[in-house]
Symmetry: C2
Subunit: 335 residues, 2 copies
């Protein structure tokens, strides 16, 4: 009796597993895989650098300022605030699951996270520093010198190691275990009826054509305003054409991930859509030529909110202190 129960349970488990594997395989969205091949020493170093405002001219802005890990990996404002309160040209994309992107930045001008990480440090409108000055700061801090040596086995710090470490930390910032992923992995009651209907609408209406795969986006470039032109704050921002030089790539942007989209408001490359309702409505009309009813829109939004996964969970890093020889930040012009 006991033995039979166990065997039955095992069979049920195996067949359940087979079913859910088949279900996953046939869905155009895939569950997020926990990161593999992670160098933990590099992650710990990268985490410190990610939180260190001494990589900016002012000593006030860190990676986490605009890609805030308490707030879905973004800053929740339309365009970011840079050195001296400069207004950025574009919405800060979330760092969460960014390792899954085909390329980095809205126009894909960085091939990977490592290539991205050096950008904001040296951008005069963002952290407004230079790679050389950032290295001078790090090399003056014994706590960093030791940790770089431990991780990379070298006495000298270069921007190469800095960006490698930041990228390694960012690779850990995936958000598995969303209710939608639980459903994909076989927990059939993980979604409500409304959410399931929203997912069906999302697929049947064509949203899925661009928002698919592990990140539910992030894997292609598409024209913003395919059916109807987009009337947003596109001043000076032209998308992918800036990288390829091809006129066909004008207003092409990387399709953003929809993972954790409940947390990454406001939406679009210009942050012009404040709510998911608004974003779904605009996307339907401009990209699909489809006007969702209020009920359809609400169902799609309900589905989108099931994509919120486990947020990064780690201890706030404590940064090694500067020393007498550390160059001091210059937040204000001398008077």
């Amino acid at each position: 009796m006991m033995k039979r129960t166990i065997i039955s349970a095992a069979v049920a488990l195996l067949s359940g597993f087979a079913v859910s594997q088949a279900a996953v395989a046939s869905e155009p969205i895939q569950p997020i895989k926990p990161p593999a091949n992670i160098n933990l020493g590099m992650v710990e170093l990268g985490k410190k650098l990610y939180f260190d405002p001494r990589l900016s001219k002012s000593g006030f802005i860190s990676c986490n300022s605009c890609h805030n890990l308490s707030m879905g990996g973004t800053d929740n404002i339309p365009t970011s605030i840079g050195d001296k309160w400069q207004q950025g040209p574009i919405n800060a994309p979330t760092v969460l699951n960014s390792s899954l992107n085909v390329a980095q930045f809205w126009d894909g001008r960085a091939a990977d996270l490592k290539a991205q990480a050096g950008g904001p440090i040296a951008n005069p409108g963002e952290m407004a520093f230079t790679h050389t000055l950032a290295i001078n700061v790090l090399e003056s801090i014994p706590g960093y010198v030791r940790e770089f040596k431990q991780v990379f086995g070298k006495d000298k710090i270069t921007i190469e190691e800095v960006t490698l470490a930041i990228a390694e930390f960012e690779k850990t910032l995936v958000t598995p275990n969303s209710r939608f992923d639980q459903w994909l992995l076989g927990k059939k009651d993980a979604l409500t009826k409304t959410e399931m209907e929203g997912y069906t609408l999302f697929k049947d209406s064509g949203c899925i054509a661009c928002h698919n795969g592990e990140a539910v986006g992030g894997n292609s470039f598409q024209k913003m305003g395919l059916v109807e032109p987009y009337k947003g704050n596109t001043k000076g921002v032209e998308g992918r054409v800036a990288v390829t030089g091809k006129d066909a790539d004008r207003f092409n942007f990387k399709v953003p991930t929809l993972r954790n989209v409940e947390m990454t408001y406001p939406y679009f490359h210009d942050g012009a859509a404040n709510t998911l309702t608004e974003a779904v409505d605009i996307m339907g009309r401009l990209q699909l030529g489809k006007k969702f009813t209020k009920d359809e829109n609400a169902k799609i939004v309900a589905f989108l909110k099931t994509l919120t996964g486990d947020q990064p969970n780690f201890t706030l890093p404590v940064l090694p202190p500067s020393t007498d020889s550390t160059p001091r930040p210059t937040p204000f012009d001398k008077k």
Copy 2:
């Protein structure tokens, strides 16, 4: 034999305890006590509020921006950056061990942490918000409404509960277990010979007259420039007189804590001293009429660095997301 060994050990332990208790009692600096009577639910809520930039007009500045818990509870710049990159008038004091202060702010205008917490939110030069607007934001976020209800048992959120929660979190930000405290508590080899000599100099020269007690400061107001006048950036900052109206309190400031002073550079109310060496030299001359030799200065600095304690150790909070009805931040003027 066995029994005798145990008894001897116990006697040794007891007498060692008696000695170290006596030592502690006779020293003018006391070890930091871990916080008691802490409401953990309130702490968790306060931690979220402390990290939430939605308490600012711009949505960009949180308590942690200027009292950064990765950097000794301060921002490590001479004076802070406020809304629209305004330059603050005074150095951001560390939040670490601030529960031990006689009062809050350099001029002591807030009686306690709760009274302090509301200040920067509504200060036009800092977070530039109003208490009413901050409450409107919080009340629009179901995650906060639930948590306030759980902690305070009320449906309505007021600035009272907000500042109570932030203050409760701040009470946990003490830094016990510095090497100096280990020495005070009986670990006689916790300090080097140089550090011990520095402590002796610190006492014999008179530094201890103001920097004493559990926080090694923070418990009195003193005139900056007692023997010689202070020639710093004191423009518009007059200290305690702004609170008491008494001319005798002009340029009187709260004596800062020296706990974690290695991490809380730059020094003084105007952040004008970049290094501990400089700060010790200026303090000796201006407050004590004493010019420390290079060797004496180095010994005192070595002692001061033994005051770095265990830094706050907690998981970065994840903030409950805004909803469609949450008022959006206004970082930039409309164009």
